[in-house]
């Protein structure tokens, strides 16, 4: 009996240990850092949309001896600082990781939230998301990989153009930070010699906000909150005065408005023109494709953005796009095609747990931030590791962002040029979910090798690792049974060419890299 009681006793204790175990998830622990280099010449770097960093006029600030400025300092010291709450501090440390970094993270999170394909209705149709009614079912947008690549590209370009303009005016006016002008002010983030007018945090917040409310129109209240918090955090932390922030806010919004003018006319409004697909299929047949792609969903789902390949590219023009387009893949029935198909059949029967893990890790499918956003995350983390300044972080992500949008456009052009069938048209299953568009070339392969190429240029000591990741991603699509090897190999080659165009731009942008 004693023995039984001790068994029960032991079991109860073990039980309490498990039941009380902590479910808290720790996933972000970034701390603010002093940039390795302030990049004081970034005002001379080449913008994407603006003619130069003087195009937007920022009014000269009041001198630091002016009573209105002194009043701002006094307010920070005697009114704001004593009233900073623990919640304010949490916001300060969150934004201390960098406004560019955090807004990129916010955009990726919105992408994941909106990366859901519309459900079919009672008539067996898939209603299109409506930008004018973004929270109705289906929600607008369906933030699929091409949509997300584009949204991120515009946000990153707006941040970059706005920040090189900011750097121009920071060093032109050279207004010191509040804690430099009044040494009794204690900043709550690491101080630097960076001039504080206009506020870089406010610039990034306003630029990002302006792009994101257009890309995710159902998120205006959420983004209002983020915009206010980002600006307030730099005030609470005594990094900026209200006049630094209001100048930054106006600048960020003005630059982003110019950037969004390009977005309105880049061809995206026609990207989902389903009327074109019949002609695309005929053209592909004329090129020798025997079994064109058909949707494997029930009811048949129209392909994802069939005309996205016609959207305006960033780092190369239409003729370069045509020149780079991969050659025709293996034709169904050929020995090479059978070889690729047999490889998939073998994996379907013998998929190892490690193959499944790799396929899952890189799947980035429905409900995730998407493959281009996965590379944004990799790039942003690498920028933090390298202690990049805000403007260099923005340059990094603008080069990557435009590369990923270019990769999406060039890959979608290829996909709908050849209109090739997925392996599922020949009886294969998938362990990760099947994208609803033609097979050749692999979007993952193109996004990844393009990203690895440009990131290898931006972070030379990690170039080998980025290429290793891109190669693993290539294999992941084969392990997941949704791409033939030729889709991945040719997409990979294509991506390198796309990345190289971005490198040419990067080398000529005046950054000295």
């Amino acid at each position: 009996m004693k023995k039984n009681q001790s068994i029960i006793h032991f079991a109860l204790i073990a039980g309490l240990m498990i039941l009380s175990c902590n479910k808290e998830i720790q996933d972000s622990n970034l701390v603010a850092y002093v940039p390795a280099n302030l990049d004081d010449k970034a005002g001379t770097w080449k913008p994407y949309i603006l003619a130069n960093s003087n195009e937007i006029i920022v009014p000269e600030p009041k001198p630091v001896s002016d009573p209105t400025y002194l009043k701002e300092l006094d307010s920070i010291k005697n009114y704001l600082a004593p009233r900073v709450t623990p919640e304010n501090k949490a916001a300060i440390y969150y934004w201390g990781a960098g406004a560019v970094y955090r807004w990129n993270e916010i955009a990726r999170e919105l992408a994941a939230k909106y990366n859901l394909p519309p459900a079919s209705n009672a008539e067996g149709k898939y209603p299109a998301p409506d930008a004018a009614n973004p929270l109705a079912d289906p929600k607008f947008p369906f933030a699929n990989p091409p949509y997300t690549a584009r949204a991120l590209a515009y946000m990153c370009v707006a941040q970059y153009d706005a920040l090189i303009t900011t750097w121009n005016y920071k060093y032109k006016f050279n207004r010191k930070a509040p804690y430099k002008n009044d040494p009794t002010i204690q900043p709550l983030l690491p101080g630097t010699d960076l001039p504080s007018y206009p506020s870089e945090a406010a610039v990034v917040a306003a630029a990002s906000y302006t792009v994101l409310i257009a890309m995710f129109p159902g998120e205006v209240p959420y983004l209002d909150g983020k915009l206010a918090e980002c600006k307030n955090a730099s005030l609470w932390a005594a990094m900026n005065t209200p006049s630094d922030i209001s100048a930054g806010d106006a600048l960020g919004k003005a630059v982003a408005a110019k950037v969004m003018n390009r977005a309105k006319t880049d061809g995206m409004t026609a990207a989902n023109n389903q009327a074109l697909t019949a002609g695309m299929i005929e053209a592909a047949k004329g090129r020798g494709i025997i079994n064109p792609w058909i949707s494997q969903e029930t009811p048949l789902r129209p392909p994802m953005l069939p005309n996205y390949g016609a959207v305006l590219t960033w780092n190369f023009d239409k003729s370069a796009l045509n020149a780079m387009r991969p050659t025709i893949p293996y034709i169904v029935g050929s020995a090479q095609f059978e070889k690729d198909l047999n490889e998939l059949r073998y994996i379907q029967k013998n998929q190892t747990r490690e193959q499944a893990r790799i396929a899952n890790f890189w799947s980035d499918g429905v409900g995730t931030p998407t493959p281009p956003a996965h590379w944004h995350r990799i790039a942003a983390d690498a920028g933090v590791d390298s202690k990049f300044s805000e403007v260099r972080m923005a340059r990094t992500l603008a080069l990557l962002g435009t590369t990923e949008m270019d990769a999406g456009i060039a890959c979608w052009d290829t996909k709908f040029y050849y209109y090739t069938p997925r392996p599922q048209q020949f009886g294969l299953k998938t362990s990760i979910g099947l994208p609803n568009f033609p097979s050749y070339t692999s979007g993952h392969a193109t996004f990844s090798s393009a990203a690895a190429t440009v990131l290898g240029y931006l972070f030379p000591n990690q170039a080998t690792e980025f290429i290793r990741l891109a190669n693993e991603i290539n294999e992941s699509r084969i392990f997941g049974l949704i791409h033939y090897r030729i889709d991945c190999e040719m997409g990979f080659e294509h991506g390198i060419k796309i990345g190289n165009h971005a490198i040419l731009r990067g080398k000529a942008d005046g950054s000295g890299q």
Partner: protein, 297 residues
């Protein structure tokens, strides 16, 4: 998966963690069973829907279980299922493998005038490295769990009995293959996923005498917290899976050998399939140390 396995986990042995039946001291009952569970409609949050790209989702289960009498009042129950899941439509690859090993200690701490009270403590842990977040194809959620359970039973001398039971299950965080996922309306940049703890409860009304057991039951399964399947999204282990089940259980064991069968149906739920499940098993009961075999109630 989507919750329909939960009710099957321990079903149809000579005894279950949620009943008041015990093996006598030094007596062991082993069971080999086959079960099937399938649904073609599920609740996406509260919206009941079909999915033409799933068709009918079918779970097959092969299971071995054993119950051992440590004393007449203290029993140990163990079980290990092998599971295979497939869809009748669409292109999602079926999954199969050993699922979770479970062990439960059940103790009768009160008995008077046909009324008995019992406590049970059990746990489970994955026995293979299956993928927990490829729902509805995953064979389990990949969590190590611990369950505390209370059972109250009244048995009349005629053989009619009535049982009420309730349990609380703690489920440890799980690891998935990805290092980012969306849950609870945000993105987590980690491979660790917090899945909700659960409560369950039920009532059984049955007859048990002369080697015959026949029971009707109602069961409820609920998560404490959790999120909902978003519109047209796939399910995820963090989902608040809720199900209400009705079912029947039959057993006939005149001597060492016996057979049993169980049927259950989900009448309502959230974030689970509306599954109909059945299971059939063969039992063999024997004693060690020369004791006479048998169950007590």
């Amino acid at each position: 998966m989507m919750g329909m396995l939960v009710g099957l986990q321990y079903s149809s042995l000579a005894q279950m963690p949620n009943d008041a039946i015990y093996m006598k001291k030094n007596t062991i009952c082993v069971m080999a069973a086959y079960g099937q569970s399938s649904w073609d409609e599920y609740w996406e949050n509260t919206l009941k829907r079909e999915n033409l790209n799933i068709g009918t989702n079918k779970t097959e289960m092969y299971m071995v279980m054993a119950a051992a009498g440590i004393t007449d009042k203290l029993n140990l129950l163990v079980g290990l299922p092998y599971i295979r899941i497939s869809n009748s439509a669409g292109n999602l690859l079926g999954q199969k493998g050993l699922q979770d090993f479970s062990a439960t200690l059940k103790y009768k701490f009160f008995a008077n005038n046909g009324i008995t009270l019992h406590g049970a403590l059990g746990g489970s842990t994955p026995m293979s490295n299956y993928i927990p977040d490829f729902l509805p194809m995953s064979i389990g959620l990949g969590s190590t769990t611990l369950t505390a359970r209370f059972i109250a039973n009244y048995k009349h001398s005629s053989g009619i009995y009535f049982t009420v039971h309730g349990g609380y299950t703690g489920r440890r965080n799980i690891k998935i293959d990805r290092d980012t996922y969306q849950a609870y309306e945000r993105v987590y940049n980690t491979n660790e996923v917090a899945i909700p703890n659960t409560v369950d409860g039920g009532i059984n009304l049955g007859y048990l005498k002369n080697g015959i057991q026949a029971t009707l039951f109602l069961e409820k399964f609920d998560c404490i917290g959790g999120d909902a399947i978003r519109r047209n999204d796939m399910p995820f282990p963090t989902n608040n899976m809720v199900s209400n089940n009705i079912g029947a259980f039959l057993k006939y064991q005149p001597s060492h050998f016996g057979i049993n069968g169980r049927i259950a149906y989900v009448t309502s739920g959230q974030n689970v399939g509306q599954s109909l499940s059945f299971m059939a098993g063969i039992l063999y009961q024997f004693s060690i140390k020369g004791q006479s075999a048998g169950v007590t109630n």
